[in-house]
C-alpha cells in the first residue's frame, strides 16, 4: 500500500499536445506501478472535471484528454485570467486529486478464463515455438495454459489486451516475416508478451492457438471489450470440437 502511495505522490504531470495531460508514475512496467495507475483511474472515474473527455490507462501512466475550449471559466476549473490557458488549470485539478486519493481496499480483480484450441490450423506456429525452445508442443501448451496473467492495459486495437505474465521459458521472438492477415481470435506470443487478436489484422506474432471468444463486442455499448485493465487472465485448452461448438453457440458466456 505504501509503495503505491509513493508512486502516486511522485507522479509527474506532463502536457501531451494542448488537449491532454499524461500522469506518469514511472517509466518501467511493474505491478506496483499498475496498482497506482488503477487507483488514479478509479479516482478520475469518481471525480471527472468539466471538459474532461476521457482517459486512457497504460503500463506506467494515465493520459487524460480534455477539450481546451470547455475548460475556460467553467465549473471547477478557473484558469489564471492572465493566461486564459487550460493546461495549468487541468494540472492544478489533477494534482489536488492525486494528493487526496484514498486507496480503497481494491476490489478482488476479475478473473477471465479464455478457452484456447492450441496447435493445428489454429496455431500454425506452435511447433516452431516448441522447436525454438527444444520442447514438445504439449509442454508449450502446458506452460502457456499454466501461467497467471495480468491485463495491464487495453489498446492498439479495439479490445486488444496488453498481457503480462508469460512464463519466461516460452518467450519467443516475433516471426521474421509478418503475416498479412491474422485471423480474429488468434492467440500468440511476441517476445515476452502473449495476447489475443480481437480483429483480423496483419502481424508478426507467433500463433499458437485460437479462441472462439469475441474480445471486441461492438453491440455492447457499456462494455465493448471483453477484458479490461486489471483483469486476471487464464488460458485453458479446448479441443477442436469444443471450439466449433462454442463458436456455433455464438453466445459464449461472459465472465
Amino acid at each position: 500500500m505504501d509503495d503505491i502511495r509513493e508512486k502516486l505522490r511522485n507522479a509527474k504531470l506532463l502536457p501531451v499536445g494542448e488537449a491532454a495531460v499524461l500522469v506518469s508514475f514511472d517509466t518501467k512496467i511493474d505491478p506496483v506501478v499498475h496498482q497506482a495507475v488503477r487507483a488514479f483511474a478509479a479516482c478520475l472515474e469518481q471525480h471527472p472535471f468539466k471538459g474532461m473527455t476521457e482517459y486512457v490507462e497504460a503500463f506506467t501512466g494515465v493520459t487524460v484528454f480534455y477539450d481546451p475550449a470547455k475548460i475556460c471559466g467553467e465549473g471547477l476549473l478557473q484558469p489564471d485570467p492572465e493566461q486564459a490557458y487550460s493546461y495549468q488549470a487541468v494540472v492544478r485539478y489533477l494534482q489536488k486529486l492525486l494528493s487526496g486519493i484514498e486507496i480503497a481496499a481494491q476490489d478482488e480483480p476479475r478473473c477471465v478464463r479464455i478457452p484456447v484450441c492450441y496447435g493445428g490450423a489454429y496455431g500454425p506456429d506452435l511447433e516452431a515455438v516448441a522447436e525454438y525452445h527444444g520442447m514438445t508442443a504439449q509442454e508449450v501448451i502446458h506452460l502457456h495454459a499454466g501461467g497467471a496473467y495480468l491485463v495491464y492495459m487495453i489498446g492498439f486495437a479495439p479490445g486488444f489486451p496488453y498481457v503480462g505474465g508469460l512464463p519466461a521459458c516460452i518467450a519467443t521472438p516475433r516471426r521474421k516475416s509478418p503475416r498479412l492477415a491474422i485471423p480474429k481470435g488468434s492467440v500468440g506470443i511476441a517476445g515476452s508478451q502473449t495476447g489475443v487478436y480481437p480483429l483480423e489484422t496483419p502481424g508478426g506474432w507467433q500463433l499458437i492457438g485460437r479462441t472462439p471468444l469475441a474480445l471486441f463486442r461492438p453491440e455492447d455499448q457499456e462494455n465493448p471489450s471483453l477484458l479490461r485493465a486489471g483483469d486476471r487472465l487464464e488460458f485453458y485448452e479446448i479441443t477442436q470440437q469444443e471450439y466449433e461448438a462454442m463458436e456455433n453457440e455464438g453466445s459464449v458466456p461472459r465472465p
Binding site: L14, P15, V16, G17, E18, A19, A20, L22, S24, T27, K28, I29, T53, E54, Y55, V56, E57, A58, F59, T60, G61, T63, F65, P68, A69, C72, Q83, A84, Y85, S86, Y87, M153, I154, G155, F156, A157, P158, G159, F160, Y162, P198, L199, T201, F216, P218, Q221, N223, P224, S225, R228, A229
Partner: protein, 317 residues
Amino acid sequence: MINVIRPGSFTTIQDSGRWGYQAWGLPISGAMDPYAYAAANLLAGNQKGAAVLEMTQEGGMFHFDESAFAAIAGADMQAVIDDRKLPNWSSFIIPAGAVLRFGRALKGRRAYFAVQGGIASVPVMGSRSTYTAAGIGGLEGRALLTGDSLSIGDAAACRQPPYSMPEKWVPGYRSPWELSMVLGPQTGYFSEAEQQKFFRNGYIVSDMAGRMDYELAGPPLVVSEHESVSEASGWGAVEISEGGHPFIVTPDHGTTRGFSKIGYIIQADFYKIAQAAPGDKIEFIAVCNAEAVKRFRGQHEIFKALAMLLRPEKHSI
C-alpha cells in the same frame, strides 16, 4: 434517400467522432478535417455532430429521391448539380430527382457533404463515424459502394437561404503546409541536432497517408533514448518509427502505440493534415501550448460568428 451511383475513391460516413471509448481500444474516428466538417454542418443548418459524407481524393455521384438542403466544404471537388456548377463552402437546394456529381480534388484532398437532417445511419457506441478497421459505424462499417442507399435524418424546422461562407474564413490549401506543434515529454529523446534537422528540413507526404496515419518521407531521425513503453497515442501525435521516419497519427489510429513522439500537431492545424495530399511538402514549427489553445479557441469563435450570420434570430437575445 440518397442513392449512390458512384462512390468515389474512398467515401465514408463520419461525424464528430466516437469519443469516450479509447480506454477500450477504440480510436476517435470522425471527420479528418474538423474545420470543413463543422463548416459544412453549419451551412446545411445542422446541429453540431451530424453525420456527413467524407470524400477522399475523388468524389462520388449521388441521386436524390427527395429534395434536400445541403452544403459542401473542404477540398474543391468541382461539385455539379444537374450540370450546374456549385460554389464550394456553400449551401444549396437539391431538387427531388437531381444528380449531384463530384470530380477529383483540385485543391486539398478531403471534401465534406452535409445534408440537412444528417445522414441517418445507425450509431454504434454513440457515433455514426465509420471505422473500417473494425467494420463498425457508417454503413456496415465500410466505405460506400455503388448501389448503396442512404437515409436522411429528420430535417430541422428552420430553412436557411443558400449561403456562402465569407472568404476570410475559407482556409487556403497549398503546399508547403506549415504544421504547428507543441513539444512533448519525449522530445528530449531526440538530440538537439536531430530536433534541428526535424524542424529545418521539410518532409514529403508519402502514398501511405490515410485515416490511420500519414507516413512522411525525408531525412530519417535518430532516437537517442529508446525505451518507450506503449502509452496512449492521439490524433496529431508525430511518432518516429524504428527506421527514423515520422508518422502523423490520424483519427483511426491505434489508441496506444510504443513509438517515441517528437511532438504533437496542434488541433487548429488538424485540417491541414486532412487536406495534404501525397507528394505535398510539410514543414513543422514549434509553438507554445498557450498559442495552440488560443488558435483552437479562435476557430470556435469563427463558428460562433458564422452561426450568428446564418441564424441571427436565434442569437439576437
